[in-house]
Symmetry: C2
Subunit: 360 residues, 2 copies
C-alpha cells in the first residue's frame, strides 16, 4: 500500500492506494465521526463490493442507499433520496457518509454530505479509475441540472480516500479508457516525463498490470494535489485541470448525459484543445500528433460525435461555467506538460475548428 497526504490549508487527509484495501476496516475507522455510517453505492457496484466494505464496519450502525448506475442518476432527486434516508434513519450531524462507486456516486455523496445538517463527514472509496485519479482530490461535489453539468454543488473535502486498485479488474474496458483520459491529462498539463512514461506503459495499464496502475493512480493524485493545494477554490492554476473539459462538456450535453462517458468526451476535447493550440502556433504539429497518438492508444475517441453541429457545440461551450463575463475562457497547451488559460481566442477561431473537425 502507498499513502499520499493531501495537505490543505486548514487540514490534511490521506489517500491510500493499493490492491485489496476495501476490506481493511482499520483504514476507514480512524476517520469515521460518531457511530452512524451511511454507505451510498449503485446497483452495479453493490453486489460486488458492498458486503466486503461492510465487513470492516461491524462496530457501527450501517445503513445504505443503492442508486441506479450511470450519469443520468446524477441529479438533485438522487441526492434527495440520500437525505431522506439519512433522516428516516435518524442520523445526526456526527454521522459519516461513505461513497462506494465511481465519480457519479462520489460527487452525489459528497454533495449530500456537504449539505446534510450543513455538513457531515465524508469518505471516498472510488471503484473506477476515473474516480480514483480525479474525484479523490479536489473536493468538488455536485449534481447535473437539465441545463448544464455540475451546475449545483459544493466544495467538500473527504476525511480519507481508499483507492483499491483491485476493484479496477471488474471495470469495463470502455470505462478504463475513460479513466486513462484524465491520467493523460495530468501528463499534458504539467508533467512531460509522466506523459512519456504513459506512452511507454499504456499497454500495461490497459492490461491491468497492478504495478503500472498503482504508479499511474499515485502520480495522477500527486499532480492533482499539487494543483489543488496551490489553488483550493479555483481562481488560478486549478483551471488547468479543465483541459479538454469545455469541449468535452459541450459534447456530453449535446449527446445527452450518459451517452458518451465523461472521460471519452474529455479525450476528444483534449485533442481539440491541442489542435487549437497548434493552430495558434503554441505547440508543434509533432506535439499535436503525440497527443492524438496517446489518446488513441488509450482507446479513446479523437473525433466529435456525428450529427452535432459546430454552432450547437459552441453555444453549449458558452454555457459552460468557464465563461466569465461573456468571454470564452479556454485551457490550451503552451507545450506538452505546460497548460495555460486564455480568453484571447475569438469565437470565430473556435467555430472554424469545430466546423472542420472530423466527425465519427
Amino acid at each position: 500500500m502507498q499513502t499520499l497526504s493531501v495537505e490543505l490549508p486548514e487540514r490534511q487527509y490521506p489517500i491510500h492506494i493499493g490492491p485489496g484495501l476495501l476490506e481493511r476496516g482499520e483504514l476507514l475507522t480512524p476517520h469515521i465521526a460518531g457511530r452512524q455510517v451511511m454507505i451510498v453505492t449503485n446497483e452495479t457496484v453493490a453486489p460486488r463490493y458492498l458486503e466486503r466494505l461492510k465487513a470492516g464496519l461491524a462496530d457501527y450502525t450501517v445503513a445504505e442507499v443503492i442508486l441506479p448506475d450511470g450519469e443520468a442518476t446524477k441529479t438533485l432527486a438522487s441526492v434527495e433520496r440520500i437525505w431522506d434516508a439519512l433522516l428516516a434513519h435518524g442520523f445526526n450531524r456526527r454521522c459519516t457518509l461513505i461513497a462506494l462507486g465511481g465519480g457519479v456516486i462520489g460527487d452525489m455523496t459528497g454533495y449530500a454530505a456537504a449539505c446534510y445538517q450543513r455538513g457531515v463527514a465524508f469518505i471516498q472509496v472510488p471503484t473506477t479509475l476515473l474516480a480514483q485519479v480525479d474525484s479523490s482530490v479536489g473536493g468538488k461535489t455536485g449534481v447535473n441540472h437539465p441545463r448544464g453539468k455540475n451546475m449545483i454543488g459544493a466544495f467538500w473535502q473527504p476525511k480519507v480516500v481508499i483507492n483499491d486498485t483491485a476493484t479496477l479488474a471488474t471495470l469495463p474496458a470502455r470505462e478504463l479508457s475513460a479513466g486513462l483520459a484524465e491520467v493523460i491529462k495530468y501528463g499534458l498539463i504539467r508533467d512531460e516525463a509522466f506523459l512519456g512514461w504513459l506512452e511507454t506503459n499504456m499497454s500495461r495499464l490497459r492490461a491491468l498490470d497492478d504495478e503500472a496502475l498503482s504508479h499511474a493512480v499515485r502520480r495522477s493524485c500527486e499532480l492533482k494535489a499539487e494543483v489543488v493545494v496551490a489553488d483550493e477554490t479555483e481562481q488560478g492554476v486549478r483551471a488547468h485541470l479543465n483541459l479538454g473539459h469545455t469541449f468535452g462538456h459541450a459534447i456530453e450535453a449535446a449527446m445527452g448525459y450518459g451517452s458518451w462517458l465523461h472521460g471519452e468526451a474529455v479525450g476528444a476535447g483534449m485533442v481539440m484543445a491541442a489542435a487549437l493550440s497548434a493552430r495558434l502556433g503554441w505547440i508543434s504539429e509533432t506535439a499535436l500528433q503525440r497527443t492524438e497518438r496517446i489518446i488513441a492508444a488509450a482507446g479513446l475517441p479523437r473525433h466529435a460525435p456525428a450529427g452535432v453541429e459546430a454552432e450547437r457545440l459552441l453555444e453549449l461551450m458558452r454555457l459552460d461555467k468557464k465563461v466569465l463575463d461573456d468571454r470564452l475562457r479556454l485551457v490550451l497547451l503552451q507545450a506538452l506538460g505546460r497548460a495555460c488559460v486564455t480568453d484571447e481566442v475569438a469565437d470565430t477561431q473556435v467555430r472554424e475548428l469545430l466546423v472542420g473537425w472530423p466527425r465519427q
Copy 2:
C-alpha cells in the same frame, strides 16, 4: 448610519445599520462580483421594496425571483426555482445573489448562492427584525425537510449586510415581537446589562422608536458576531445561540412549520429553558420571573401550544440536530447573561417539565 465589521478568520464583511439604506446603491455595488445580479424576494416584500432596491443597481443586469411568503416556502423546491432562474438567464459563476426579505428568503437565497456552480457571491438585505439580528451574522443557510427544520443547508457568508431599520415600520406587530425574541436571547446568553436596557426600553422598541431599534439591532449583531467569530463552525460557544431553540423547533415541528412564528416558538422555548435551569437550581426564581416578564413584555407566548403531548415534543427534541450520539444536548442558563450547554439533564426531567407546562 452605523457600520459594524464582522471579522472572520479568512475575511471580513460589513453590516450597515440605519434608516433608508435600501436605496443607497453605493453601499451594495462595492460588493457585487461581475455584472449579473439576481434579487430573490417574496410576494409581500416585492411590492414595497423591490423597485427601490433595483433603482440603485441601474448599471447591472438585474433579474428577480419572487417566491410566496412564509416558512412553508422554505423548501428545496423553492431553491430549485432560484437555480432554474439563474440558469435560464445564463448567469455565470461571477453573478451575485441578493436576498431581499426575512429570514426565510435569506436562508434560501444564501443556500442557493452556496451551491450555484459550487458557490457565488451573496448579499443580505433583511427586512424583518428577526433577519436583521439573526441571519445577518453567522453564515447559516438552508431549507426545511418534511422531517425537520434546517436539515439541508450550508455555511455561506454574505459579502455585505444592509440592515435598513426603516423597513421595520411595515412589519406586522407579531413579527416584530418574534424578532424581539432573538434580541432578548442575546441579553440572556451573554449580556445582562443589555437585558436591563431591554427591560427599560421594550415599549420604545415596540413603538418603533428608530434610535432604540438601531441600538438593539447593533448590539444584537455585535453579540452574535462575538460568538460566531469565536466559533465559526459551531463546535463550542456558538451553541449558546440555540437557547430556547431545541424546545422551539419541537413546537414549530409539532404545529407544522409556519403556524407559530420561529421567534414565538423560541420565546416560549427560552422560558422553558429558564424554568428547567431554575428547577436544577442554576438560576433563582427571581431570574426566572424576569425572563418570563421580558418575554411577555415583548408580546411573546410563554406557554406551549394547546393539544400537543409532552411525549411528542420530547420525541421532536430528540430529532433536533443538537442531539449528539443519543444524548439530548440543551442550552440552559447559569445566570441571566450566562448560558451553558449540558447533556447531563435526564429525559425524565425534561418530560416532567413538559408534562406540567401550561398550555395556551
